[in-house]
């Protein structure tokens, strides 16, 4: 065991992992975190806590992670390279570990331009791949990035994201390979809508032996309706939403579109369960935490395994 986190245990025992996500509030409202977390408890193996996602200021990821631990839920601490230099990152990792956080997801972060402080200076002292290597060095060598010894080693289960769809497609599997080489233990992918392209990506990853070295969790975000699908297609960089997704949603009554979106997500999850090289699903139900229980139920991923 590298970290002993629940997620690591579930994956290590060969179970199909099922992780969730929770966006912290735009304020100090801890109750809101607890309320959202309640829908996820028992339905997922670990909950990603986003880190100022879309470059909007929110309650800090590590603080929100601690609230989840208090609620008996395992968090996955997301950390972006946009807001901290290597000193702050390493110090936050130590503090997070001291408070019981055992999973970390290393990300570049959305550019400040998208957020509520577009004039902010993006830090990007190190990038996401260098962050993976930093956490690994801390964990496996007991050293800071600078080489100095740590007093107490943070045993983190190290994750990263992968976008199988952004350009150039041929490069995507190599970027995944770089993350694996840097020391990542698990990958959570960008939301998948183009299943053909994803099947091709995972085949490449299988052929290169990458899925033997890191667990790949397929990213799923249920569509709430046609509006969301069109927004994802046209406005979100690096997102690949095929036209048939939109036309399928358009084919049902407006009131039924969200149910159809969930049905599509469940179908995807069923396929991922059978797909070679896919070790689980990461469900990003954006501002839809309350629907996670029914999605988990429909996808037949309950009850979640308990591994000692």
């Amino acid at each position: 065991m590298k970290s002993g986190s629940n997620l690591e245990k579930v994956l290590g025992a060969g179970h199909f992992a099922f992780t969730g996500e929770l966006g912290p509030p735009r304020g100090a409202n801890a109750e809101e975190v607890r309320k959202k977390a309640a829908f996820l408890k028992g339905n997922v193996d670990s909950v990603n806590i986003t880190d100022n996602q879309t470059a909007m200021v929110r309650m800090s990821s590590w603080a929100c992670c601690i609230i989840l631990i208090q609620e008996g839920i395992e968090p996955n601490y997301q950390m972006v390279c946009r807001d901290r230099n290597r000193l702050a990152m390493q110090s936050d990792i130590l503090g997070a570990y001291a408070h019981g956080i055992r999973n970390i997801l290393c990300l570049s972060g959305d550019h400040c331009k998208f957020g509520d402080h577009p004039q902010a200076k993006g830090v990007f002292d190190i990038d996401s791949i260098q962050l993976i290597a930093t956490v690994k060095k801390m964990r496996d060598e007991g050293k800071f990035l600078s080489g100095a010894d740590l007093d107490g080693v943070p045993k983190m289960f190290i994750g990263a994201a992968a976008n199988p769809f952004a350009d150039p497609f041929e490069w995507r599997v190599h970027r995944l390979a770089k993350k694996v080489a840097a020391g990542v233990d698990f990958i959570q992918t960008q939301c998948i809508y183009n299943m053909n392209k994803f099947r091709e990506f995972i085949k490449q990853a299988n052929d290169m032996g990458l899925t033997e070295k890191a667990y790949i969790l397929a990213g799923v975000t249920p569509m709430k309706g046609v509006g969301m699908a069109k927004y994802m297609k046209n406005k979100v960089p690096g997102m690949d939403v095929p036209d048939e997704i939109i036309s399928r949603l358009q084919g049902v009554d407006k009131k039924k579109q969200s149910d159809e979106g969930i049905k599509m997500a469940v179908e995807q999850i069923e396929e991922f369960k059978e797909m070679k090289g896919v070790a689980g699903v990461h469900l990003m139900a954006i501002e839809w935490e309350h629907r996670v229980p029914e999605i988990a139920e429909m996808a037949k991923v309950l009850p979640r395994p308990k591994v000692d």
């Binding site: 290597a133 952004a166 970027r175 690096g238």
Partner: protein, 227 residues
Amino acid sequence: MIVAKRKPIEEIKEMLKGYKKVLNVGCGTCVSVCLVGGEKEVNILNAELEIARKMEDNPIEMGAISVERQCDREFLAALDDKVGEYEAVMSMACGVGIQFLAERFPDKPVLPAVNTAGLSVNQGIGWYEERCRSCGDCVLGWTAGICPVTMCAKGLYNGPCGGTNKGSCEINPDQPCAWFMIYERLSRQGRLDLIMRVHPANDWQNIGPRTLVQPGYSKPDNAGQKK
């Protein structure tokens, strides 16, 4: 070359509001080539300021002079006899020239008329694009001659990130993704192996003021003392 952009006239007027006689100093090198701070631009700005102040019933006398390079001591000497006649000096040079002027005339307020905007190429008349952030640790040898520090909005060393959008940067569809271009060019050259390996955290060189002494040269003994 170093490029710059003229400050908004209102900002310049605000800086000059307490003065009635100011010397505007142009620079004949980079800022002259990029059409912002040469002899011609000094005269245009002076005329604008004099007219504006006259209309406000608060006239200002703007002196004009241009030197070959404000970043070179030998050219600044031409100003020594002139500056005394003015209450303040304004510079249309880049940030380097402005500071060197301020250093030479420490008793005079020296004010910037332009914002320095980077090290850029000349893409066309009046059109400049930044290419170098002078990071001090050039990586162009393995990035196909495309600078990720300058051209990638996140300055990534192991790009492209997941935001690459049909070859464009996520921050702007008109901005090509640096790492997409790096990939394409290295691929064409059969050199993709250069970016397959993980590039470790950068050893930033531009985190404090840098001094450069070329091999075979040395600083005079009294250099570096407080002015």
